[in-house]
Subunit: 305 residues, 4 copies
């Protein structure tokens, strides 16, 4: 496996040249476009990793899958799905249009911004502080990394330039899908996007989902089997922005990407995968990272279909 990883890293490094680092907030522009790394942890807890797998970056949209898990653990599932849908949207992640044209006006799914703002609003806690602490604690447990924290420069940058998300949140409030103070919900949303991780952390999360919620080291359960399945299902149908369908055809595994350059993938019963490569394609996915997963799929049978 280590050889395979070395190989696909070398083969795909060139693709970074065809992509661009995210530029919508100044902080993200600082990423080095050529960075590339991948980490795999298998069911036996063996770790394989190459390249910039220990480089820190912000988790961005990948957090949507973890916050979805929290929302499903903090609330009745029916309640959650009365506030956010289960369908792929066919539109870009930050689209507002469907909130108006949909019969229900409900966000299509928890993997687009509108849906993730809703799931964020469903995290329980007596105060904004408690919600933030519960969220960070959950990320620390699921990554088995107590150093997980927020990159405050990115967070502030997100908050200042977050008017499009703000617009969505007010529309969602207007239509009854979010209760409470919008700025508080958005604050937690921007914080969740600004959590710093590396590819190793992502592989750990992917493994956790791959084992249906059981920690391979100590046998403890953090997330229930059903919630793990739901999260992986959304990762397949909506995890790679509006290239989710193509990724499912070409690679065929649950995966969630973020504009920070990360991809977290999970091969049921087999392994968790973390990828870092901040050069993005037009849809917002790591361009070399996606190519590495395609190549991995050609060499190792990971396709679930």
């Amino acid at each position: 496996m280590q050889d395979i990883l070395n190989d696909i890293l070398q083969t795909n490094k060139k693709y970074a040249n065809y992509g661009q680092v995210a530029t919508y907030i100044p902080e993200l522009k600082k990423a080095r476009r050529d960075d590339l790394g991948i980490c795999i942890i298998d069911k036996e807890n063996k770790i394989y990793a190459v390249g910039d797998y220990e480089k820190k970056f912000t988790i961005q949209s990948i957090s949507k899958s973890i916050v979805l898990a929290m929302a499903l653990m903090d609330n009745e599932w029916e309640y959650v799905f009365s506030k956010v849908g289960m369908e792929p949207s066919g539109d870009p992640f930050n689209s507002i249009m469907k909130l108006e044209t949909n019969d229900t006006k409900k966000p299509c799914n928890p993997m687009i911004n509108a849906g993730a703002i809703v799931t964020t609003s469903l995290i329980k806690g007596d105060s904004p502080q408690e919600k933030e602490e519960r969220m960070l604690e959950f990320f620390r447990r699921i990554t088995k990394n107590n150093n997980i924290g927020i990159n405050y420069d990115v967070y502030k940058s997100e908050k200042i330039s977050g008017d499009r998300n703000r617009a969505m949140a007010y529309l969602l409030k207007n239509d009854g899908f979010i209760n409470g103070n919008i700025e508080e919900v958005l604050d937690l949303y921007f914080k969740q996007c600004s959590i710093e991780v590396d590819a190793l952390d992502l592989a750990r999360i992917g493994l956790h989902l791959a084992t249906y919620g059981i920690d391979v080291e100590n046998g403890e359960r953090i997330i229930s089997e059903n919630v793990c399945r739901m999260v992986k299902t959304f990762m397949v149908t909506c995890g790679m922005y509006d290239a989710s369908g193509e990724f499912a055809i070409k690679v065929g595994i649950p995966a969630k990407s973020g504009v920070g350059g990360g991809i977290m993938a999970s091969v049921p019963n087999k392994m968790g995968i973390g990828v870092y490569g901040p050069a993005l394609d037009k849809k917002g996915n790591s361009i070399a990272g996606t190519k590495m997963l395609e190549d991995l799929g050609k060499k190792v049978q990971i396709n679930i279909f």
Copy 2:
């Protein structure tokens, strides 16, 4: 398994009352709303079946998955995907809008009408007759049923009332996604929708996809492994109309439904499933049939995620 099927049939028969048989063409209105049947064929070729599993009905949209397989076998994959996309549309199956608002104007995927008209146009043959014969022959091989044929009353009905599909086809021609004579393409499309099957036939197709293309009886291969995986992937992301995401969350298996009341499902490495229940929900899926699959998933581990 037989007991489980008896059980879920009884439990879910009542749901037919909440649905309606398709009415957009007169022929489909003749279906008996209360009919319900299910058939499973497992990898050992064991057949379990209850209810109206031998009742004939027209395959309708389920044919989209088989014609996709043919298109992928008759053409270079790249060529096929230059004419039809890979993404869920987030819109109803007969929507025209995305053909206009999409950057590419390409049909989103081969499971909506626009996309299936494209894949139909990609079936090879020197004449309309030869294309029709090749298509029928392929359906006969994959169902292992030489009696498979077209219901000409439904076909004529489809053809007469097919102006919406005709509109799509001309738009697709205008935008360069279909070549050739539109009425010929539509004729083959309407014929494919009007092929008569029963739940047993559908289970056989599902099994074929579940075994990655190998006939469990004689070890022969009809469809390649990769094409089987692609078809199943599209079934997950787009197979159940605009309830595909919900079905993936609740059942988690590749499935394709048709407004004739059929559902063809495939559990990789395990079984093929055929369902018949013509009472449909608002999105066009068999209402009791979907419920039966949900219940089956609660009793047997079939979820692939």
Copy 3:
């Protein structure tokens, strides 16, 4: 003329039964559905009026035409039209969709909410207080009524339930069409909507536009001829929500309606018209009020086309 007004009031009173008073904010629900009044002031300053023409109500969207005039007087026209378009939208007044699908993302025109929030942001003043005072002063001059003021109950109600407008405003800020503090802009917008007028006040405004900006009593000019023409043009193409085209065909005069039940109309070179009738049709126009104007057009040549 007085006889004609008496006549059309009687004939059309019954239509109130087919409409509903606005209910999106509690305060508007208090209106009496059966109220109906009309007032005409001609070029010779003769006033004709019947029914509830002195009943107070909030001006709502009618203010959009006056604030547009202010924005065009406070700024270079080119600057104004770099922030708001000139085209009918074909969509409901509170639609967000076009802000996303339009090439420019600019609000289509100043008569829909999004556009009016932009023109409101263009009113000059060193402080929110000064802007509000300038706006009220302008309304008082143009209505020749020094008692014009804000209904604070309606204003508070608008502000509390204004999350859809808030969403639009943040989207407009995100896309560069509004600068500055959003809550301040919205506050002025909600206040402008909550200004109290009667049909007499509206007729006076209409007359002012009809005389191209010259006060018929003292010959003073408040608005320039060109701005008057522009406002009347927008009233024709976009003044009656998404029934503007129908109103232009059936009546053929510049008119602007509000969900408070008012219609302000202007017949160039002839007269100003004010209408009050709070029972609205589905598109938000006074149902009996619109019918009265249709009937007026059958008896008096007012059609400008």
Copy 4:
């Protein structure tokens, strides 16, 4: 007036360089981009003309206004407006989307392609030949030019490349807005677009509408006053494609343009105007032609608002 026309022709000739002749059918590409001409006929039947005002070109969308008049004379108005709406669409002339997203699915208005295909289908006649003859005869009477005929090269070109219009027509048939044979309706539609005129002919049509249907030479009436008003109303709200609102603000007169390079305008009670300039802007309007009308409006009071 003649001096004014000479002047504005010289001033605006340069704008042709910023536009392009229509290229969607080969025949239209043959136009000379630099051609420019304008013709005015006033109420006293005085003709003023400069430049290429006798150059022949195909009428294209300008025919929509004349066919609308015919449809309104051949049918009850209520029936016509049950098949086509009265609202500006806010979308390009050949947009299909609104046919799907509109509540009614009705074409928005008779000035976009979809709407004009409907009005074409409403022209009376016992056979396609009779309909064509009646249409040509009407064009000849209204232009007072017996030589009016069809450019068959353009017509054939339109017919071959007309799949987008064909798509619309089938959708309209599917939704009940067109009856009868689609190819016959389209044939008449393509023929109407291919009628050859010059700027003089267009000025004559514009004058006819300006005098509310009375021939200034012989006092005969061809079109009723009300139909003239309706046609001019649609010209204002929807006559200049999706720049109609801007044209109304900048010039303020009823006008209808075509991609052949013509503009037919009508100043009520004053004059008819015909323009020819085949270099188009992005929205499909003659670029120098539009500029000439703007300049004319600055020198002569023609604005109706």
